[in-house]
Structures are given as structure tokens and as C-alpha cells.
């Protein structure tokens, strides 16, 4: 067993972990933050993407022990005070998700992408998200979602009179 101190979304905890525990399993099972998903075992799909000290990493290829002392942000940490982040709102507005399994990884990766490049072109968005697979969407609307977020850095929730929000 190895002792680790890992901060996730601003909350730091100490745990004894089996040295071979993957960070993604530590996040999901020890910390019970199940928004981060596992889609592969070859670090190809990106469903497990989290921010480690601000940089996107695939948490299925990092050991929990390697994250000792680190600051992790998961999808659960993107919204502030219950308000969706611009990227989260972009995915909602532009229908950037279907089953939602890949979504947390995309949201985290897109957040990091916009941090680095706040005004990406379509091609830059596609390249920036190359490490994430989605099997449902065909990506076009994910690209639109990230564009929306770039254009609405404050986030924005339009409402509609019929009780249903319609796409903007």
C-alpha cells in the first residue's frame, strides 16, 4: 500500500492505495466521482480525461500513486456554484452529446483546449480533441459545441416561452 494525498476539485484527501491502482479507478471508486469514465484499456478513447495540475491527462494511464500531491479537476469540478461552464453549456446548446458516455472526457479536453487557445478554428478544435473518441455523434456537433463555448466565454442560457429551451 502507498499513501497518497490527492486533491480533486478542491478537496484534498489522504488514502492508502494499492500501488498499481489506476488514477481513474481511484477517482471513480475511492473518491466516488463517477463522472470520469473508462472506455478502453489502451489510452485511445479519452473518456477518462481529467486535468492534472491543469493539464489534460488520460487517467487510465496514470497511477494514483503518480498523482500524489496533485490537483485534479474532473467533470464534476467544471461547473461553478451549480452553473454549467461555457463548455458544458455549449454541449447542451449544440447537441454535442447523445449517450453521454464520452462527454465528460470531451468536456475536460475542450476546457483545456480553450484555456490554451480561446478562439480555435474548426480544424484546431478537431485536432485538439483528436485524443477523444465519440461513437454516437460524428463530432460535427461537438465541434459546434466548442465553437459556441469560444463565442460565449460567459456562458449563456436562453429561455423560451413554451417551457422548452430551443437551440440557439
Amino acid at each position: 500500500m502507498t499513501e497518497v494525498r490527492i486533491s480533486i476539485n478542491g478537496e484534498s484527501r489522504d488514502h492508502d492505495v494499492d500501488p498499481r491502482t489506476l488514477l481513474v479507478h481511484y477517482i471513480r471508486e475511492t473518491r466516488r466521482l463517477t463522472g470520469t469514465h473508462v472506455g478502453c484499456d489502451t489510452s485511445n478513447c479519452g473518456a477518462c480525461t481529467v486535468l492534472l495540475d491543469g493539464a489534460p491527462v488520460k487517467s487510465c494511464t496514470v497511477l494514483a500513486a503518480q498523482a500524489d500531491g496533485a490537483e485534479i479537476t474532473t467533470v464534476e469540478g467544471l461547473a461553478t456554484n451549480g452553473t454549467r461552464s461555457p463548455v458544458q453549456e455549449g454541449f447542451r446548446q449544440k447537441h454535442g452529446l447523445q449517450c453521454g458516455y464520452c462527454t465528460p472526457g470531451f468536456l475536460v479536453a475542450a476546457t483545456a483546449l480553450l484555456e490554451e487557445n480561446p478562439d480555435p478554428t474548426e480544424q484546431e478544435i478537431r485536432e485538439g480533441l483528436e485524443g477523444n473518441l465519440c461513437r454516437c455523434t460524428g463530432y460535427a456537433m461537438i465541434v459546434d459545441s466548442v465553437r459556441w463555448a469560444a463565442e460565449h466565454p460567459e456562458g449563456h442560457v436562453p429561455t423560451d416561452t413554451a417551457g422548452a429551451e430551443v437551440a440557439s
Partner: protein
Amino acid sequence: MSLVGAAVLRKEDPNLLVGRGTFTDDLHPAGTAFMAFVRSPEAHARITGIDTSAAADMPGVHGVWSLAELSLGEGEGIPPLPGVPGLERPALADGVVRFAGEPVAVLVADDRYLAADAVEAVDVDYEPLPAVASIPAALAEDAPLLYEPVGSNVVFGIPWEDDAEAELAAAQNRTSIRLVNQRCAPVPLEPMVILADASAEGLTVHVTFQAPHHLRTKLAGWLGEKEHRIRVIAPDVGGGFGSKINFTPELFLAPLLSRQLGRPVKHCQTRSEAMQLMYHGRDQIHDVEVGFDDDGRVRALRNMISQNVGGYPDPNGMGMAVLTTWMSAGCYKIDKVAAGFQNVVTNTTPIAAYRGAGRPEATYMIERVMDLVADETGLDPADVRRRNFIGPDEFPFSQPHAEAVHYDTGNYEAALDKLLEMLDYDTLKQEQAARRDDPDRPLMGIGMSTWVEIASFGPRGSLEGFGHLGSWESAKVRLQPDGSVVVNVGSAPHGQGHETAFAMIAADELGVDYDNIIVRAGDTETMPQGIGTMGSRSVPIAGSAVKAASEKILVKAKEIAAHLIEANPDDLELRDGGFGVIGSPEDHVNWQAVAHASFQPGQLPEGVAAGGLDEQVFQEVPNFTYPSGAYGCVVGIDRDTGEVRVERYVLVDDCGTVINPLLAKGQVHGGAAQGIAQALYEAVVYDDAGQPQTSSLLDYLAPAATELPAFEEGRVSTPTPVNPLGAKGIGESGAIGSPPAVVNAVVDALSHLGVRHLDMPLSPEKVWNAMNDNGATS
């Protein structure tokens, strides 16, 4: 305001966007243990010994079982999985393994790491047998047999009824081609996961599955349990594409072992396991002959289909080829069609439904044939199609070669016109010529596919043959005392947006605010019966059930409303979130008051029972629906590397009435992505000995955002008369219409080099060889 037709944002999203979805692996009841499989490294072998003792002795391991060691209790053996009589798959290999990865033993341990360690500790002895891994190998004269008593590797087939020889001979021209529709892996991003808990009364199963009731029935029969003691819940499901509807061993073994161990048992497939164990799709070879006149009119078509069903014939997989024969004529009027098939077993993973299931194969065939006819007659592919279309005034149209196939509505020519206009076809043709002559620019090709598919699996008998209880779909609409609405549907979604679509339908029908409607699905406890989500049946059939149940609610609600405001029910209209008397603005009662009164016997008119605003409908439909469309693809081909880039992609769809354009767009994009990927990237590959060469996402190329294009969309709308919504369904369209559009584009780009056909996937190597005349053309 009517919601149907509006781009309403999804009800599903708020939870999924903040990491609060509930997928099966997110659940960890106390005491959960993990189930793992010992899988065969051999494709075909006799098992001569299994030593589980070392694994069983490991701390934290609760048990290890081979088939012989499993029992239902009191010495009862384990029945085989549902399958083809006599050739059923056993729950674990029964003395012989028939594909690499087939589970030979199962174990349960405290956590997934220990379970993986224990798997390594199980010792299995195999005596390898000669294997066959492809249709030609399985059909070879001295081929090793998978099932000796059958006497052949052909397990089932239907020959063409009439071989169309006379019509082929009578046509002015005839040609033939062999088309291979390669094996694909469905790759839902969430692999198969099941959590079975029989530690208390009865059995509760959370599972990533498309048809919970169907599983409940099968589990009850298998385990000798009553259905009322089994609850199957499909919570959030991370994609399915047909793969999560097959009865594979984990679905039966997790509940069995949970019952035996008295604790929750979970199984999470790894991706590598999913690549081997989740039933694959496609894998058909078509031997096609076509007779046609000089003017491009197709007179006769003969298509003999050989389908590789893998090591065990799955009933779903066996049925795919039937659909392919049905849809062999596409959207064309061909005087004579003869289509037959044979299902062939090989030492590979079984085949079953994958997005489109049997129709992509038919569409690929007929749309490649149309381009071949164009090539041989020197006509434009658009003209050849136009000359063979079923005309817009010829519906309903019965395909003479397939008894069950009656196209409902369509306007194929309008879709093609729209496509050509959006592509700006004539300008593209000029550009293509210019690029051919400019060695510095990539070669360019334009491909089209004008397709029709069969959807809305609902006519009586269409699913019963696959073991379902019926082909209907169910909906239950219930008013709460405050006037809010709960809609339950029997079809369990995996990303399609059911909550949104069905709430929109109910909101329109009932005049209740969209926000006051909640939709529930995927739980056998909340719905007495349901069928499931596949074959684009949810909106057309379940959506119609929601509409019908809402209509029934409305009848009773009107009576109550009329009683409350002392009016005649016939004088009432839906207005302002309630009921009003027509022409009398003051006389109004809101839904809340009506719903509230419905629970209070003293407030009800004579003959109306309390709590009556609760209706369930089992919706049947008289026919399938036939979504159609025209897709166009422009490719650029790198002259140095052979790499194909999709430069433009135009999707013109006709799915009848669109409930929500956002959802429809999402479904089409996703399908098209999978179809383009089949054309260019994806193939499950085995070596000659049946060893899988594509067992992970490292070697199976599921495309990322950099590989796929932006999509341009157009629409034609011929609503179907088959259901009251007019909706035809759109879940499979993209995957069905796309592969030929892309392949036709690539062949078009290379046609001046004499290339007539290339088999999918069109890898850079294959294309480069074709460009450089290295024998890869056929």
C-alpha cells in the same frame, strides 16, 4: 405552440453534462464482487483439462467455475444460451472452443484487479484443431468442420427462388461482381457491464442493454425464477448500436453467481474483451450478376449472399441476411430480382445486429451496382439512378421479390435533385477534370448513394421471430395530482433522446408544459412490458403509443374538466395549460385542477373512476416504414500516399415527420460517421488461424474528429401513413446510406486509371496500390 418539429434542447443533458449520469459501473452496492472470464487463446481447440485450483485458493477469490462445475442447484446443468436449435452456444465452452476469446471458465473475486490476477492463475490445456476464419476457407472442399453432425459449415440458407437467368440473358448487357461487406465491431464507447444482485429477495439486474424486458423473460426461463421476482434496469447506457441486445454469457452468469454467492456480482468488459466478445456486424460476401440495357435500365439482378455468422449462429445474426435479400433492389424498379443466402460458420466471434443490420449490406450492393451500370453504359450515375427509380406516384410499392416488403411513401427523385443542387454537381465535375490534369492537387471523386431502408420494426411477427414477446411498443402516461405528467415507455434508450422526443409528443397532445413532463424508460418495474430499442422503432412506434395514450387521457380529462366547469365535454378545447370552452374565454379550468379532481371521487362525474388519468397503450403498426435519402460524398486522394480525405459530405434525408431536428441531426451524423468509417477505416481482421488482429482501439481504427468531415444537410419529407406521427425513424440511415457514397467517390476518383472496384476499407495502402497498378484492383 406546437413543439413537434422544434429544436428543443434535451432533457437528458443536464445530468450527463455535470458527471451525474448513472451508468451501470457507477453503482457499487456494498459487498459487490467482480466477475471475470478465462478466455481461450485458441480459435478452435478441444479443451483437455482445466485446473482452477490455484486461482480458487487465492485470497479474495470467491470461486472459479468451468461449465461442468456450474449448476443451477440440485445438480441441474446449465442450459445453453438462446440460439439456433442444436447449435446453441453454451454459457462457457463445452469441451470445444470455436472462436478466440470464447470464455472457458468464470471466476468471482473481491475486486477487478484481483479478478484479473486470478484469471492468470487458471490453467487450461488445449488441443488445437484446424480452424477456418473466412467464408472461402469455411466453404473449401476439405474445410475443417465446426459442427461435425451438420456435415458442412453452411448452417442455414435460402437459395434464390428463381435464378433470373432468362432475364439476365435477355438484357442487352450483363456484368458480374463480387462485393465484400467486411466485418465491423460495434464499439459502443461503454463496453458491456452488468451488476446482478440476488443477495436479497428476488433478483435485481442493472445492465447496459437495449431490451430490459426481453432479458427479464430470458433470465426467468434460464434461472427457473418467476418474472415478478426479477427486475431488470438499464440505467444510462453508453451506446449500443445493436450490440447490446444479444444474449451473451455474462448476462446469465452474473445473476447465477450472485444467487450462488449471496452478494452483488458485477462484470465490466474491458475494451479488449469487448472487441472480441461483443458480437460483430456485417461480414457478407455478395456474388452479384446484373442485366441492363444500353439506356441504363436494370432488367435483372441476382445476388447470392454468403454471411459469416462466426463460431455460433446467433438468431439475430442469422436474420440479417434475410433483411439483405429483402432490400436488394433498393429504391429501384427492377423487373426481376433473385436474392438468396447461406449462413456460414467459422472460427470467429459470432455475428449479430450492428447499426443497420442487414440493410447496409443490401444498400452497398445495389448502389455499387448502379455505379457499375453507369460505368459500363457511359452514363452519369445520377442519370442511371433516375431511370430506375420507383416514381413518386407509385407508392405504396411492393417489391415483387420479397413478400413482406411494401414501401410506404417516398420521393427518391426529389432527394437526388436536392443532393445534386447542394453539391453543385456540374461545377464539381469540372473541378474534378481540372484536378485530374493538375499533378500538384489531390485527385478528386464524387460519389452518390440514393438509398432506401426498412425501419420501424413493429408489424406483427417482425420481432417475434427473434424471440421477442411481440413487435408492438408500449407507453404509459400518468397524470400526477399537480397536473404534471409521467410518461413511461417500453423502449429503453441508449443515447437517442427518448426523454426529449416523447415529452415533446405528450406536451403537444396534452397541452401540458414540456417542463412538467418526465419520461422514464429502461426499468421492468415501472413498465409492465416493453420490447426494446432497435431498428428505428422508438419514435415511430413508442412515440405513437405516447400519442395514443395521451389521447385516451384527454378523453377522460375532458369529461372531468367539463364536470368541474359545468360544460359539455364536446365544447371544450385545450387552451392555456388546461381546458376552455370554445368561444368563451372565461370558462377555463387548468390541468392541475383536473388532475387533482381525478383523485377525488366526490369531484368526478358519474361513471368516471378515481385516479383514472392513467393510460397504457400497446401500439402495433400495420407495416414497416421506409426511410430514404440521397447522400453525396466528395473525396480528395493524396497522390503520394493514397490517403482518402472526405472533403464534403451532403446528407439529404427523408425520415417523414421530424419530431426534433436536433435529435434527427445527431442520429444521422452518428450513423454517417459509422458508415464513412466502414468505407475508409474499420475492419475486424483475423489471420488464417482465426487469431484476431484487431483486439483493441490501437489496431481497430474508430475515427476521431480529425478523420471525419463537417456535414451539410438537406431534407425531403414524405410522411408515412403507417403511424399517426408520420415518422419513419432515422437511427440507422447514416450507416446504411454512407458506405456506397464513399466507395463510389473513391472509385470515381480512380476511374480514369481503369479502377472498377475496391473493397472496403479503403486504406491508403489499398488506394495507393490501385493508383500505382500494383495488382490491387479487381
